[in-house]
């Protein structure tokens, strides 16, 4: 493991519509590692991802986000992307008429052959290059196209929001293979997930509940609690009720 911190989130607090979504949250991600932010629905995981990526309404969060030591808190999505952060959405966008070729090439700083990344994702370039990234592609195909666009680019930190959402097992395995490739090439990946299968792919995990990080550590340590306590928990997102209060 590389000990360099690629991302630090310090005392992050987000309120939307007078509701606290993220509450005094701190995390650190290490360069070249695979991380998972895990927790039940509504824990604030995707909001945290949106804060890191800098989506407009999430930029009003207070606290600090440092990327490679630089404060990016006030920067826009594209400014953060040009610094090296990108994101794969839970439900990839559909684009009328925009071809896979144009979509993937949008990630490139210089024009280069994108066929290798399509092949790596199991997408035959002859079949897919000229197809539109729209409803004619299945959810799994769009996820693979999205990941191909990320692999084609130079992002160093890749946030993947619910990578297993709406896809079959073959597509998920492709995505896991691609993540291994990204890690081997020195990139940092962070999964946003409530799935044990995805969690198990990570080396480090942060367990979120009710907008807070309630536990963190190597994934092996987090899995038993997540599977045994979080998944069946009836007090979701109220971390200080019942047994969850002892989690720390």
């Amino acid at each position: 493991m590389n000990n360099n911190k690629i991302l630090q989130v310090k005392d992050l607090h987000l309120e939307l519509n007078n509701t606290t979504i993220i509450n005094s949250l701190n995390i650190e991600l290490w360069e070249g590692s695979i991380h998972a932010i895990v927790g039940p629905n509504g824990a604030g995981k995707s909001s945290l991802a949106n804060c890191i990526m800098g989506l407009e309404k999430y930029r009003k969060a207070s606290g600090e986000i440092l990327f490679k030591g630089k404060d990016i808190t006030g920067l826009s999505v594209d400014e953060r992307a040009r610094m090296g952060i990108t994101m794969a959405w839970q439900e990839p966008a559909r684009y009328e008429g925009l071809t896979v070729e144009d979509f993937v090439k949008a990630s490139l700083k210089k024009d280069r052959d994108i066929k290798p990344v399509l092949k790596r994702m199991g997408l035959d370039p002859d079949y897919y290059l000229k197809r539109a990234v729209d409803d004619t592609l299945s959810g799994g195909e769009r996820k693979k196209v999205e990941l191909a666009s990320i692999m084609a680019g130079d992002a160093e930190l890749i946030i993947m929001d619910e990578p297993d959402s709406g896809i079959d097992i073959e597509s998920l395995n492709r995505i896991f293979e691609a993540v291994s490739y990204l890690r081997e090439s020195g990139r940092t990946v962070v999964f946003i997930t409530h799935s044990s299968a995805v969690l198990k792919q990570a080396e480090h995990a942060f367990l979120m509940c009710g907008g807070k990080v309630v536990d963190k550590g190597v994934t092996k340590k987090i899995i038993p609690y997540f599977e045994g306590k979080c998944l069946p928990c009836e007090c979701k997102n109220e971390p200080y009720i019942g047994e969850a209060e002892n989690v720390r």
Binding site: D78, A81, W89, E96, L98, I150
Partner: protein, 311 residues
């Protein structure tokens, strides 16, 4: 300037290869101003063009059962900065015939040019007529285009059009296409226009599904920037059982542009069915954010999204 040179001059402005007309199996008709500068018939396909004061009167007749293999190239252009061009077009496709026409309307240097198309099209029983019209305009906004067509589809006929005005400034365009569809016939009309500055776009397309089992789709895609305006009126009336229709209008609006869409659907038989969808506004925020998360700034991302929609 001789006709051959004028033909080449027209082809050059369309972006097509100069040798497209060398193939003797490719029929064509090239009109510059009110002058027919090039024409070729094929067996079964008769193209008559006669010059009138400010344009050309064209009659196209395709005989029964004749299927033209390669697209027929047509080009209507005004090369001077000012001028008027009126095309009176009568198309008659006989039973079970088939033709695919690729037309370019090119006004690359126009400062004050008016182009009027007045067409009557009859697509015979079981016949198929596909017509793609691409416009190339100057950047001055000095072009006014008035395409008007009345289309009659007999039983089992097919009519597909694709109108594109994506190169140069629109100026003013006022489209009026009306179709009447008999039993089991199929009509699909698509219009794509990119407006900017003070461009004015008016699109009126109607489909009257008069016959049992007839189908019609009206698709409109318009992008507007600056102070451009668009008024889109799409109407489908289905009056017989199993007639099916769909209206699909999308307009992307930026800056001070203004867009209006009026989808009208009317059903006169309980076994007929017509649907419509219209979306007007800025580009989708999720599409935008995804592309921005790849490093494109907002303008670059917007342009790419619009390129897809109009492409």
């Amino acid at each position: 300037m001789c006709a051959d040179v004028k033909t080449k001059e027209l082809i050059k402005t369309t972006g097509e290869e100069e040798n497209i007309l060398d193939d003797p199996r490719v029929a064509h008709l090239f009109i510059s101003g009110n002058e027919v500068v090039g024409a070729r018939d094929l067996p079964g396909l008769q193209v008559e063009a006669s010059e009138i004061e400010d344009g050309v009167d064209v009659k196209i007749n395709l005989k029964e059962g004749v299927k033209i293999e390669k697209p027929v190239h047509m080009c209507f252009g005004v090369m001077p900065e000012t001028g008027m061009q009126k095309i009176i077009l009568k198309v008659n496709l006989c039973k079970d015939s088939r033709i695919n026409i690729l037309a370019h309307c090119t006004f690359p240097f126009a400062k004050d040019v008016k182009h009027v198309m007045d067409a009557d099209i009859t697509v015979g029983e079981g016949a198929s007529y596909e017509y793609t019209e691409r416009h190339i305009h100057s950047e001055t906004g000095g072009v006014k285009v008035y395409p008007e067509a009345r289309v009659y589809l007999k039983e089992n006929a097919t009519f597909r059009t694709n109108f594109e005005l994506l190169k140069g400034r629109v100026g003013l365009i006022d489209i009026d296409y009306r179709t009447q569809c008999e039993k089991e016939s199929t009509m699909e009309m698509t219009a794509k226009v990119d407006g900017k500055k003070g461009d004015i776009i008016k699109i009126r397309e109607t489909g009257h599904l008069k016959g049992e089992g007839s189908t019609g789709v009206l698709t409109t895609r318009v992008a507007l920037r600056d102070n451009a305006t668009a008024d889109v009126y799409n109407e489908i009336i289905a009056e017989k059982p199993y007639a099916r229709g769909h209206v699909d209008c999308k307009e992307i609006v930026q800056d001070n542009a203004r867009a209006k869409a009026v989808p009208v659907v009317e059903v006169k038989d309980p076994k007929a069915h017509v649907t419509h969808e219209a979306a007007i506004g800025s580009v989708d925020s999720k599409q935008l954010q995804t592309l921005m998360s790849r490093g494109l700034n907002e303008d670059e991302a917007t342009d790419l999204i619009i390129k897809g929609i109009l492409g």
